[in-house]
Each structure stands twice: as structure tokens, then as C-alpha cells.
Symmetry: D2
Subunit: 427 residues, 4 copies
């Protein structure tokens, strides 16, 4: 049985491990690498290191009497979007700051970690803060994923195509035989039931009626996607949502992000350098618009998030995640092999799966009071839900009910496609 | 009993009436008025007159052997967004064309009406075309509403504040006592059941599980809304969706569209000229962001479209519509009195009611083949559903299942607010 | 000998003639044509008709006791850029106004003309106002040229390519033998000497030292310019100013404005419709950047405005102007024949000639006090001087010392090229 | 007597000194500081260090047989604007590159310096390259000034207002009594006569006729400028060029760059940190528009560059320059004291002086063949000439005939104001 004491030490150990992992992710990067912002959605790695630290200082330490802030200016500089905390340094200009530099941010991290050690050492303080510490750790794990997707965008922009971290790719396993897993119509409970940590947007648990549907047993592969491209997928407006077609024509792309045509082949930039695309790997770095167009082209559709959640319940949270990939010396990329023999493959890890569901609050949803209420709720507009985590997600960060969300045009996340289909309901 | 003949003559009569109504809506406008486009979302009235005519020529006449087009260039000039028909003259530049001018467009309308008379005269031709004629008539009614909202935007931009049509306002009835109508949880059928005309996006009829909820018995009034403004509604980020707050700060507004502060009062531009705001009238020209912020401020929320549809079934399609308002010499504006004594007021007419539902396809939705498949489906992204019709809608155009949709920042439609609330579900 | 009375009646006659000519220029246009603004630099013809009238009302009538303004709102609506008069309706939105409409603007013109008749009838009033009337008439002539260049831009934008005014083109005379006219070095007086009307920017007369130079005897022809195009002129950055090369790459053009490639030939839109380019005609609708690149390609350069003025003194103000072209039923376009036998051809009329001279104040220049001081001086930045008038200029509007000016990227004026060359000075 | 050998060793010594000075200017900066680009006009310090090195490699080493490039990608990455050399990495994205990092760029500098040592060691190689080496050294000195102005912009953007280099300010000497130095009318030779190094844009030497004029004996001070501000200088459109007034209203500033109002005082950010403005110091960081408006307000005008050059001939090239300021431990800023007792003060050093002259080629100017011909000539459009060097210029870089040039809106250079006046010429 877990005593309160050991709960504290488990949390403290988790804190140390997660905080250290942020630094490990930056360990192959130079001070210069950590400062670049290639588009408004991308933040410099140094900013992520500082902001995640700011989170603990703001929501835990600053509420403790006598806490001396590391630098009072940081309240403003490293606030991302919490209006209740105060004004924010403009997001799209995060790459214009050279101070505090990387060494100073590391010093900031050490300072906050030391102050947090005092919290862990005090039973009372910890009791008060434990829930917010848990949020802070999940928050930092989210930014760890962003460190990876953002540095990928930064390095891919450089004509030298620098490697983030050397790693070898193996030839991928051939995809499993294409199978459709059937699910019966019914009223299902959706959302987090309250056991273990979950974000506010996963609640309340509620019922949804779902028509009978089928979900594909595997992700769409690069080979499948190349067929779509070569069948004129990017030139046929009838396959696209109107906004997606506009986006395509303005941005002038004809393949997933990071791909380029080299002779008769496609190459793509990965965190282990530029490589020829392996058709057996899951496709990733596609927008919702691309996922939706591909699905339409293939005569199927994207699943709703409720369908995805119902189907996912049959498998455990297992797959290719950042922690296992890194420790095995493998590239942070949808992986070349799949553990296990489940009838449905890769539901977790590898790539975030676009769903057809706009990101909204569940029935009865209401964000918590105060600044932390700004965490999720205010973004419930013009975004789509993605499910299942990716190769850049930590294994203990993801859940069956976890809801990620991005605007439909976003492509720089490890986002891929799983197909669904279902007959029209009858009355 | 209705013979086929009389069905034809009913349709022909409807055609004549609806086509004539488009011209009547422009009868107080000069040639210059009919040519202006004040923002990309607004089209010149002359363009609406031509495009609705193009619709009949393209989808009915052009398919008839021997049809001689009025002007071959019009295929391109007046195509709105049908990629399957061909390229389109750029939407945001519709105000840059002076030719064909108003007289020529009227000539074009007469020519197409004459050709259509031949269709009505041929039993066989009519049998083939009737369904598409019906779509064309509903399409023209949609553009009639846009003629009104667009000319309102055009005239309101002019510092002279010209009057579209003289009409008198009466002092409005006081709103009914604020009441909440309760609805029980359950699985409901939503969507068009197939009796009578409906658009493709209203189908398939399907089941949705809905938690118990309450819907307000009346629309939010201007007086309610002024309270929100005066309580700092436009200065408190915690009330707003993040995108809405950005929109607000960029556009710098602090009241519904067409309102301005004059001393201690609010005035608003209406199609009958600028007036002081009557607090008893329903508020309109608010965005989804404003509707959502108002709801949050008032401790309630917006209804989902399914909730709205379920609740609406208890009342008939009745209210203040453009045809009755015009024929009574009243302003095209949410009206100063309400017919009837229903427990729930103004569900139809007056203002479109923003729902909390992003615009998506119903389960099993698939658009028809061909160009008409582009009518609704491809716009199912980053828009919200509005229900119930407005003072600028024709009475016979609206239905319980009718789904209108606009992006969340849109304010130039007659869009207003009805509140809902409901307790969180329990497991 | 001219008595004061006859001076008055001459001025009154000129007033009537010039005012009538503005209306004549619009006589082939519909109300719709007169309302379009296709880019910020273009104003609707209706705006020109109103603004030129506003000029007389503001600078002459409004200063008379008892003058009743036609509409007090016009002070704001039709003020172009006179800060001393008050705020201005935004320039780039002139096409968004439908009121006052064309009939009302014509009414405004009649009203002001009637009020002006009272001024002409009063010896005292006229004495006070004559100088400003003269400015107003030259001002209106400038806007007459803009009516033509702006409606050309408007009609050329329309895919129907409507004709402004039917007119026949003849095959042009072959250009004269290419000759270089020599001019000796020396100190020359430049600028208006004070006889007759001139704008403030033509003064003070002052001395400039000019090195020996040669000026070409004729304008650059379309045939010459096609050689430049076909020699890769638009693809060779070494021929272009840096800003010009950027402009070219952003706007993506490869020929003068209104030209398009049709098979092996070039066609261009003219005010008499679209035609094949006649190689013998002077090239026009080129920017300063194009003129400069052409000159560099041909091993020559553009003349300075002082060189142009010195050289022009040898010829009279004669050539193809809008009044003679229109009354002869010829197109408003650089003309197919040249009167006279001067050694240097087309110095006046046909096309404005870009000079190498940035538009600056002459030594000792200082604008007059008051609003009219804003006429020219405040625009002396980032523009280049053009000389000689064009086919859209009235003959009695132009002078040897006349300085027109446009930004280097402007192409919608009738602007062309005359080459100069000169050996480097020796010390 | 100087032997050829000693000429070589003098040039080699100059090379070493100038190259070392670039590094010294960056010696107080972190790797992060050296990577930031706060606006398109600003380049990261690291880019300057690389580009100046690229210049020697491209124009000297690459022409030597057997030269092995340090990295073939640098040809593209560090080409600024030489189309004849090849394509260029986009200028406005220089801040988006993290590789090569600072250490690698320093390595690049060492490599090129070693290769250059071989050139200095070979009489023949040096004879061939000496002229281009001289250009390369002046080029590097220009970029040294930009390193300072750019890092000032970068650091001033940071809300922490970091100090570039600690330095003390003394209370400035009071300005000399305001005096006007008279110059007689006449024809003067302007431009470089060929003794010693000069850029192509300083030639040919040529004659200009200049009217009598007066030039002020000192620069405009901050105190003078504060009077202008407090007299409503930034709120009175009649003082401004039209483009300047637009710029002002869009950018919303009301004081020189880096100034801000603190209570009743003005503070400004300097390279030694933020300080209260000393009214006795010369004003700087003003645009041409501000300089011109100030001159108009004060009843004077800016001098032409010919006037400035004629007047400057009476004084030697002496003043506050970057090398003397740094070696004296003083701030890189217009200085608090002036050496000497000349009747006209601060003609050289302290601040670049805006002239009224648009930047054009002198009569007979023609740029050299090849890529180096792109150095100056292609920028002769929409820029104004500044004269005299600044506190960020090296003393041996400046000359009486030196022409600097910037667009009229540029404010981030050390640009200030000297007034002229002159009576209008008479004929």
C-alpha cells in the first residue's frame, strides 16, 4: 500500500525525471539552435525551457509566502497566454529575444527546481500544490513534444538540413492486411471517468449516441499517400474542403510538410536527417485538410473522436513513444516496427490521428476558476481533435480520453491519418 | 387533389413570385448602389441578381439541347464557387466590374425567365428539371437575404448614412418574463425526415443523445446586451474565446456591428436609417464570439443545434419575416411586436440564433454528385450553425431542420442570441 | 488691347469650356462605369467630377460671404489630401461610395457652376479670385487626364474588355531615322520665368550646370521595346534597379501594362479596345523602372529634367493631345502620325517622358501659405519627374517647364521613354 | 620612401586590424545576441561576420586557382544581393538560421584569413587583388557600423534593455553659439578627384552650379528637438512630407527612435543602457522625414549634398568616431565633447547628416562591370544621401566626398540634422 510519504516521493521523482528530460531533449542543440522561431506557431527551445519553469514558479511558488522571484521580468516574458496572470510578451516575437540566454535559462531552471524541492519537503505545501504540480508536469510533457516539433521546423528551414540527433532507420515492416474493425451502434459513455489525471477538456464524462461504424486496423502509410498524390490528389478541388483548397493554392504545396520530390522519388526531412520516404511507414505531417481529402479520395472518412475513443478501449496504451525511441537510439519518427499483435495497430504513439470532430466542450463542460481555466477552454474554436499521441509524446502522458487539438491547416505536428467508414443511418 | 398540371403551375407561379421579389428588393436602389462591395463577404446587389440567374441558366437551361447562352462570358463572371462548372471571377473583386451594368443584368434576367417559361411549358422538361428548379428557388431566396444584409453593409459604410427604405418603427413590446423551458434527456432524431424540400446538409436524419437542458423563452434583448457592455463585457478577456479576443483587439469594437455611442445612448444604423437603440428589441449583428461571451457573462451558454431543433418542434414556423414586414411597410429589422402567445417566442424570424455547434456533416452525410454537391458540404469547416431564420428571410424558406452557417467572426448577418443551460451529466 | 472686361470674359469662357470637357470625357460611360476604383491610385470618374467641383467650392466659393454649401458633407467626402481644409474620406475607399450618385454629382456641378457665374459677374469678386480660378482650371485639366487613365485601368480590368470610345487606328508612320541631337555644356536657367501660368513647383527659375549631352530625336517605339523583351530584358537583373527588380518579381509582369502575349504577337488594351501592338507606335505604360532598364539595355540613359527642358526649348508646344485627338475622332493613344518636320519629334503630347530626376524642390522653392501650399510640395519624395504631356493631356495645359511626377513603379499613366547619352565629364 | 614591399605590409596590417576590429565589436555579445534579426533591415551580427568574410572569399580567393571553399553552401547563404554571383538566401530570414553557429563562423573567418595571408605573401597575387582587397576592407568597415546599429536595435527591442558595453557619459558641452556660415554662389567641382580610395558612387568628379547658401555651424541638439516636439511637431501635418506623415500615423511615434517619455523627461536607449536625454547632445535616430519636418518647423531646410561637400572642404576629417570612442572607454554615441575650435563643428563623426539630395548617379556615372558593379549603383532609387560619418564609423573610412544613403523612413542609423538656408535665386 502506498503511504502518503511514498506518494510524495513518487511525485518528486516524476518531477525530477520529467524536468531532466526537457534538458535531455536539448542536449544536442547549440545555444543558437535553441533561440530560433521560424513561424508564429513555433517557439524557440529556450523559450519552452523557460516557460515550463515559469509555470511552476507562477502557479506554485509565487503563491508561497516569501518566494523570491528569479527575475520579476519573467512574469511577463514567459507568460504564454494567461490573461489572468497579466500581459504577455508577443508570441510571434519569441525568437527576437537573446536575453535571458540559454545559460541563464538553465540557471532559472535550477533555481526553480531548488525552490520546488522545498515544496516536496513540506507535507503541507505538497498537499496544497500536488494537483497543480501534476498539471505542471503534464504541461511540461506537452512542451517536450513541442520542443521536438518546433526544432524540426527550425532545422528543416535551414538549407544545410542539419541533423537533430543521429539515429538509424530500419526498413519498415509491411503494413498489416487492410482490415476494417466493426463497431455496433449504441449510446456510449465518452470522456474521462475520474480515475487518474486528466485535463479539464476530457470531462464531463457523458453519453453520445453513435451509429454503427468501422475503423481501419492500421494508419495510412506513405505508400498509400503517394498513390493519392499521383492520382492528382492535390489538383482536384472536388476532394477538398473549400478552406483547404484555398490554403493549398496560397501555400503551393503538393505533398506532406518536409517532403520534396527528388527525381522519381520523395525525400523527407526527419529529425535524423533527410531520407528517401519509406512507403511502409505511416504518413505524417499532414493537415486536417490533407487527411480529409485523402479520406474522401479513398472512399472513406475520418473517424469522429467518439468513434475513436470507443474503438481504442479495446487496446492498451502501447506503441512507439519518444521515451522508448530515444532510449533505443531510434529516430523520433513514426517507427519502423510495431510491437504486439493487436487486431488494431498503432492506436497510440507514432502519429496523432486527425478526427472529424471540431474541438468543443463536452456537455456540461466548464473550465476551472482562475488562470488555469485558460488552459484549454478558450481554444475551443476552429480547431480539430487529434487522438492517440505520437512518436514525440511520452508514454505516460497519453490516455484513451486524451484530446489534442490543432487548427485544420497545421502540419508541423506528427499528425497522420486513420480511416473510418459507416453506412448512413435509417429511420 | 393536385394534378401534375397544377403542380407545374404552382411551381411556375412560385418561380415568378420569387424572381420578382429579387427585383422588388432592389427597387429603391440606384445603379450605383447595386454595384458596391464593401468587403470580400459582401457582394454587389447587381451580382446577386446576375448570379441567381446564372444558377438557372447553368443548372437547368445549359443542359437543354439548343440553349443559346445570353453571354458566354457569364459562365465565368457569375460562377460563385462551383469548381465543377469552371473557373470563377475572383470573389473579392466583384465590386470592380461595371459591365454588365444593371440594365444589362435585368435584360439577362428577362432572357433567362423567358427560356425558363419554355421549361415550364414542357411536361417532360419540367419533370427532368423540377428538383433543380426547387433548389434554384431556395438558392435565390438565400441571395435575397444576402441582398439585404449586403446593401445594409454598403449603405452603413457611407458617411451620409442613406436610408434603404423608409419605414416606421414602433416602440417594442416589453420582452416576456424571462423563462426557462425544460427538456428531458433522451435520444432524439435530428435532421430532415424527407417530407418536403430540404438542403443536403439537413440529412441524414439520425439519432443524437441529448442531456437534459433548458432553453430560454425569448431572445436576448438590446437592453440585456447593454448591461453586458456596461459591465465591461468587451474589456474582460476571461469572457471570450481566445480567437474572439484577438478579433476584438484587432478590429477594436465595443458593441454590435452598426452601433455607435452617442452621448449616453447607443444608436444603430438600420435599413430604415440611423436610430436610437430600443432596449426591448432583440439584439442582432453580433458574432459567434460576442454571443458566446454574452452567454458566459450571463452564466448560461448557447444551445447546441440539436437542442435548438428539439425545442423548436413545439412551435410552428411563424414570426417576423421579410415578406410580411415589407408588405406591412415595416422595417427589415427584428420587429417591435410578436404575434401569438407561444410559451417560447421568436424561434423563427427576427434573428438567426447562433448555436454552439460547429458546422459539420451529419453522420452518413455525403454530398450529391456533380457541381451541386459543392453547394454545402465543402464549407463544413470553421463555421458555426445558426437556426431559425431572420427578419430578412422569407417565411416559406425556413424549416425546423434548416441549418445556416457562418464563420464565428461574421457580424453582418441578422444574427442574435438565445440562451440555454443544463446541468452536467452524472455517471 | 485686352480690357479687364474681356480678360474676365476670356476666363469665364475658359471656365465653361474646361468644365464642359470633363463631362464630355464621361459621356460614353454608364453610372456604373463612373463608380469603380480598381486600385488605390485610381479614383472613380464620378469622384473626379465631384472633387474638381469641390475645389472651386472650397477655394473660391466658400470664402465668399453668404455662400450656401451644396452639401456640408462634401467638404469631407471630396477633399483629396488638403489637411488644412480638414479630414479626408479615405482615398483607397473612394470606390465604396454609391452616394452621391452620378446624377447628384452632376447636380452639384451645375450648382457650383451657377455660383461661379456670380463670381464672373462681379469685377471685385473676380479680381480676388482670378488666380485661384486659374489654378482650379489647371487642376481640373489634370483630373481630366486622370479620368482617362483611371477609366482605362477600370475597363481593362473587366474580362469583357469594354471599349471606352470607338475610334480607328491607322498604321503608324515609321519612326524617323534614329538621330542624336547634341547640346553643349553650360550653365542654364531652368524653371518658369513668370510669364503666364505655372505651378509653384516650376519655380524659382534658377541656374544649373549641365555637361554636354545628346538627346534622341524620337521616342522609343513598341518595336524597340519588343527587342528588349525578346533579348530577355525582364529576366536579367543586371539591367534593373534593385527596387525595380523586386517589383518585377512580386508583380510578375514581362511587358508594359495592358500588353499580353497572343501567340507570337503582343496585343494591348487601348481606350478603343484591344488591338495588336503596332511596332511603329511609341511604347507607353512603362514604369520608371522599365524605362531605366530599357535605357541601360540600349547603352544609353534617361535624360535629366534639366536636359529635357533645355532641349525642348528648340521646339514649340505641339503634338498629339487629347483635345485634338478627340475632335478628330482618333483614339486617346500615342498617335499614328506626327505633325511637322522638326528635327526632334514628339517632345510634347503622345507620352509623358520619364526623366532620371527625382522630384525635388528647385533651389529656393517654398510652397505658398495655406491649403494650396499642399498642392505640390509635400509630394517631393520618392517620385520621378516626367515631362512633355501625353495624348491624354490638353494642349493648353502643358508647358516647357511643366513638371509631372509619379512614383517609379507607376505604370497606368501614358508614360514612355526618350533616351539621352553623354560622355563623362573630365576635370 | 614607401617601397612596394612596405605597401604590401601596410595593406596586410590594415587587413589584420580591420578584421580584428569586427571581432572586437562582438566581444561583449553572447552567441544568442549574435543571431537575432529584429526587422528586415537588421542583420544578425553573426551574419555580418560571415558575410564580410564571404566577400573576401568570393571576390579574391574564389578567383585563385586551387582555392578550396570552406563550405560550398556559404556562396548562397552569405551572398547579400549580388545577382551576378548567384541566388541569395532571403534577407528578411537571416535571423532564422542557427547554423553555421558563432563558433563555426569564427572558424570560417580564421580559414579565410589564413588563405588571405597567402595572397599577401605573393607579390603577384597581391598586385592582382589589391584593389579588391581595399574594397573588401571598406566593405567590412561599413558592416562594422551595421553591427553596432543592428545590435542596438536588437537589444533595444528586449524589455530587459540590456547594455551592449558599459561606458560612462559626461555632461555634454553646451552647443556653440548658433552661427550661420556663408558660402558664395558659383560652379563647384563635386565628387572624388581620384586621390586615394573612393567608392564608385563618388565619381565622376563633375561641376554643379550652387546658389549662395548658409550652413549652420553645429548639429541640431536634443534640446532643440524637444522644443520641436513640444511645439506639436509630430501633430502638425503641414510640417511633413506626405509620405512622412503617413509613416508617422502608421507607426505611431512621437519622438526619435529609442526615445520614450518618462514623466516630464525623455529617456533614450543607448548602447550603454537607458539614460535621460541630455539636451546638449546632438539628436540622432531621426528619419529623413523627421529631419525635414524639423527643418521646416525651424524656418530652415536641409542642405543639398553638394552644399555640404563644398562647406566641408574647410575642415579636416576629425571628430568622434567609433575607434577613438571605444579606445577611450566612451559610449558609441554622439559625444559629449568636441575636439578643436573650428568655426563649423562636428562635420565628421557623431551623426550622419541627412541631406535634401535623393541618391542618384553623378553625371557620367556608370558602375564597374561584373558583380562589384552591384555594390552601389542599383540602389539609386528612393533613398537620400547622408554625409560625414557617425560615432559608429571608423575614422579612416570616411571622406569629404563619401556618400551614405538610406530610405527616408530609416531611423536605426546614427542619423541627425544640420540646417541650411539660402535666399531664392533671382533672374
Amino acid at each position: 500500500m502506498t503511504t502518503p510519504d511514498s506518494a510524495a516521493s513518487i511525485l518528486a521523482a516524476r518531477y525530477q525525471k520529467i524536468r531532466a528530460f526537457s534538458l535531455e531533449l536539448c542536449s544536442t542543440l547549440s545555444a543558437e539552435d535553441c533561440g530560433i522561431q521560424t513561424m508564429p506557431d513555433v517557439s524557440p527551445a529556450r523559450w519552452h525551457l523557460a516557460h515550463t519553469t515559469w509555470f511552476f514558479e507562477t502557479f506554485i511558488l509565487a503563491k508561497r509566502p516569501g518566494h523570491k522571484p528569479f527575475d520579476a521580468n519573467f512574469t511577463y516574458l514567459f507568460n504564454s497566454y494567461y490573461n489572468a496572470v497579466g500581459d504577455q510578451y508577443p508570441r510571434h516575437q519569441r525568437g527576437l529575444l537573446s536575453r535571458p540566454n540559454l545559460a541563464e535559462v538553465q540557471e532559472y531552471r535550477r533555481y526553480v527546481d531548488e525552490c520546488m524541492a522545498d515544496v516536496f519537503a513540506s507535507e503541507e505545501a505538497l498537499a496544497d500544490a500536488a494537483e497543480r504540480i501534476e498539471v505542471g508536469l503534464h504541461h511540461e510533457q506537452q512542451h517536450q513534444e513541442l520542443i521536438l516539433t518546433d526544432i524540426k521546423h527550425v532545422l528543416a528551414h535551414n538549407p544545410l538540413f542539419p541533423v537533430y540527433r543521429e539515429a538509424s532507420f530500419m526498413k519498415a515492416d509491411p503494413p498489416a492486411v487492410d482490415r476494417w474493425i466493426q463497431h455496433a451502434e449504441g449510446t456510449y459513455w465518452i470522456g474521462a471517468s475520474g480515475d487518474g489525471f486528466s485535463f479539464d477538456n476530457e470531462s464531463p464524462s457523458h453519453r453520445e449516441f453513435i451509429d454503427a461504424f468501422e475503423l481501419n486496423s492500421d494508419l495510412v502509410s506513405c505508400g498509400d499517400y503517394i498513390e493519392f498524390i499521383e492520382d492528382g490528389g492535390y489538383r482536384r478541388p472536388e476532394l477538398w474542403l473549400s478552406l483547404g483548397w484555398e490554403d493549398l493554392r496560397e501555400q503551393r504545396f503538393g505533398a506532406p510538410l518536409y517532403w520534396r520530390r527528388v527525381g522519381n522519388a520523395y525525400h523527407h526531412y526527419t529529425l535524423a536527417g533527410e531520407l528517401e520516404v519509406d512507403p511502409a511507414l505511416p504518413v505524417c505531417h499532414v493537415s486536417y485538410f490533407e487527411a480529409d481529402a485523402f479520406a474522401r479520395w479513398s472512399g472513406a472518412r475520418l473517424p469522429t473522436e467518439a468513434e475513436w475513443e470507443v474503438a481504442s478501449k479495446s487496446v492498451a496504451v502501447d506503441g512507439n513513444f519518444v521515451d522508448s525511441l530515444l532510449s533505443a537510439g531510434r529516430a523520433v519518427h513514426p517507427a519502423d516496427s510495431v510491437a504486439g499483435d493487436a487486431p488494431i495497430r498503432r492506436m497510440f504513439g507514432d502519429v496523432w490521428e486527425w478526427t472529424a470532430s471540431p474541438y468543443t466542450g463536452y456537455p456540461g463542460f466548464s473550465p476551472p476558476e482562475g488562470a488555469l481555466g485558460e488552459y484549454n477552454g478558450k481554444f475551443m474554436c476552429n480547431q480539430y481533435v487529434l487522438r492517440g499521441g505520437s512518436c514525440a509524446t511520452s508514454r505516460d502522458h497519453i490516455r484513451h480520453t486524451y484530446r489534442n487539438f490543432f487548427p485544420p491547416e497545421a502540419r508541423w505536428q506528427f499528425s497522420g491519418i486513420r480511416l473510418a467508414r459507416g453506412s448512413a443511418p435509417k429511420r
